[in-house]
């Protein structure tokens, strides 16, 4: 059998799952609520936050709460729950191998989750970057934006993959979602206490403004952000001696911590979320290929 025919069944499962998920009420509602949440952030923070902080605030919903719950619900395997099991039987009694089915199904879930994220966030970022806004002290760089998008996509992929693995192991949809949600929040909070942005999405969200300001090359780096802040304060005080009123400084957001995460590394973060993702997919495939349906 040629590769094209071999791929046909995998693509069929992928397209079917993609279509089913895209037309589900969960995805539609999530898309609408995500859009509203981003609009709310833009409306309230437009004048008071600089570019990188504003973009980081938009991404907060995907890294911390509440959208991780939706990613988990969508990711819970195609074989968790009675109805899902029956439907998967309908596919797996045809000439499709289990790993083909699993990978196609996983890919469909990841694409849907990332699709919703990108559809909502990318237009908002473009708006922030290209709109006529007050000069930003911490402007987001092109590299920083792409790196931030990549990292959030990686975290969402990890959430889907973990849900996929747990769904394959436990087979009970609601139990899986509840366990994973609690586990995710607890572990992220504990690791976040140690400021481990490589493992904790809570820490990662705090480090996001720093990542958004990173340049393509080290030589292109603008003076250190902290330094820039000090210089700005100095200029303001000099201006006040001559009776010149400086424009009100942007309100400093206490949540984001530029000093603690100044050494954030894209490589470390990618490995921190990428390796567990690959392990989850591998383990899910191994478990699924060895178990009864």
């Amino acid at each position: 059998m040629d590769v094209k025919t071999r791929l046909m069944s995998t693509l069929a499962v992928f397209q079917h799952d993609l279509g089913s998920l895209a037309s589900s009420w969960l995805v539609r509602v999530w898309l609408a609520l995500s859009g509203l949440a981003v609009l709310f952030v833009l409306a309230t923070q437009w004048r008071v936050s600089d570019d990188s902080t504003l973009i980081a605030q938009i991404m907060f919903f995907y890294l911390v709460v509440p959208w991780f719950l939706v990613a988990i619900m969508l990711g819970v395997g195609p074989v968790a729950g009675n109805r899902a099991e029956s439907l998967s039987d309908g596919v797996l009694c045809r000439p499709v191998t289990r790993h083909e089915y699993l990978l196609a199904s996983w890919a469909a879930r990841v694409i849907v989750v990332l699709g919703v994220f990108l559809v909502v966030v990318v237009p908002a970022i473009l708006l922030v970057v290209f709109a006529d806004r007050p000069e930003s002290l911490f402007p987001a760089t092109c590299f920083g934006i792409l790196a931030a998008l990549f990292v959030v996509c990686l975290v969402l992929t990890l959430q889907v993959s973990l849900a996929f693995l747990m769904g394959t192991l436990l087979r009970r949809q609601m139990v899986t979602v509840a366990l994973l949600a609690v586990g995710w929040l607890v572990s992220a909070a504990v690791l976040g206490a140690f400021k481990l942005e490589e493992f904790s999405p809570f820490s990662l969200s705090k480090a996001m403004p720093v990542l958004l300001c990173q340049p393509w090359r080290e030589e292109d780096r603008v003076p250190d952000a902290i330094e820039a802040e000090k210089i700005s304060e100095m200029i303001d005080s000099v201006g006040s001696w001559f009776g010149v009123d400086a424009p009100p400084p942007p309100k400093k957001n206490q949540y984001f911590d530029r000093e603690a995460f100044a050494d954030i590394s894209l490589w470390r973060v990618s490995l921190g979320y990428g390796i567990p993702t690959l392990l989850s997919i591998g383990l899910a495939t191994l478990v699924f290929c060895r178990r009864d349906l």
Binding site: T5, A12, G90, R94, P95, R98, H99, D292
Partner: protein, 401 residues
Amino acid sequence: MVTVPFFIRENGIGNPGLIRKLCIDPAVRGEFSPKGAKIEADRPNNLLGATPVAQEGRLYVDAAIQTERLTKVFGSRLIAVNDMNLFVPKGAIFGLLGPNGAGKTTTLRILLGLQRPTAGRAVVFGRVCGPNAVEVRRSIGYLPTNPQLPGHLRPVDYLDLVGKLCGLRREERKPRIASLIRAVGLLSATSQKIKSFSTGMATRLGIAASLVGDPPLLIWDEPTAGLDPAARRFTLDLIRELGKTRTVVVATHILGDIDQICDHVGVMHEGRMIFSGPMRDMKRRLRRDEFTLEIEADDERLQQLVGGISELDSIVAARATVQTVTVQIAPEHERAAILSEVLKKVTEAGLPLLSIHSGRNETENAYLQLLDEDEAHGFQRFELNSARQTSASHRNASNEG
């Protein structure tokens, strides 16, 4: 008898390619024994013959399905299939009978690779079944009980999906789907979503889905469950028609269906195959020594008739209901001669005979008798199995020695 010596793997059921090569001559049909290393030729075609249950360590060339000591235990608690040997000849319409929980569905799911056997193995057209046995599933069209179909799709979309899963190219897939939709009578429902389908319509769509890949083996699990009489008739006729060109396995506990369509039958009870063979063999097992006469008469005259019949040698007569008399003939006597004596008595009494029949439905009787016998064996079953295993281990030990 022609004996052709050859070697095959001791642990396996043999190399199907090699076996096919050796069996170019269609007259060579029979069994392969890894230990005996020989082919027995000039045997009757298994499809027509009465070789009911596969023997340990042998492969029937004409087998569509063969299982060897198949066992499935769920979580060390539930024994769903117990040391089961099944043989389904190619081209047969095979009825897999058994009460609920007998292990029929589990057996079928093992054949499809949806479940793994705890011990033993299953072979379909010479290929071992398993989760990644794609070629096995390519040769099977499966219809589950009350199929769960994706409700958001329309029938054509669903069949298209199944066609793609079977690896059919577009130019082959589209016309086949159109003809199948027409064949199962869903032409008027193509614009509806599947979630609006009745049970009968969903079953018909499931039937069409099982036929999309044009497989040589159909496995249908309770295809008539929940159907109205017209849909049931349609399904049974379809099975009969499909059975002319392919092997069909129908798992059910509805005896009437099996009786109408199957030429071979296997009876499962508590996970074991207690009978497997041609339908006629099963019916032959029935003891038909009891007859029922339906006679129109008042009580007194009927009682006189019963007394008269009872005077005959080797007969026990009794009144069953108001108008019926049962006549039981001793097994060693010629039934036709004795029945003619009985009928003569009825004529002499001047009573109108409304009907005469032998017990209940034949298949039902045979089936219930098999279940009764299996229940009655009790501990003996265990001893038979133990003896078989002991002899097998002795044989292995002597071979190794």
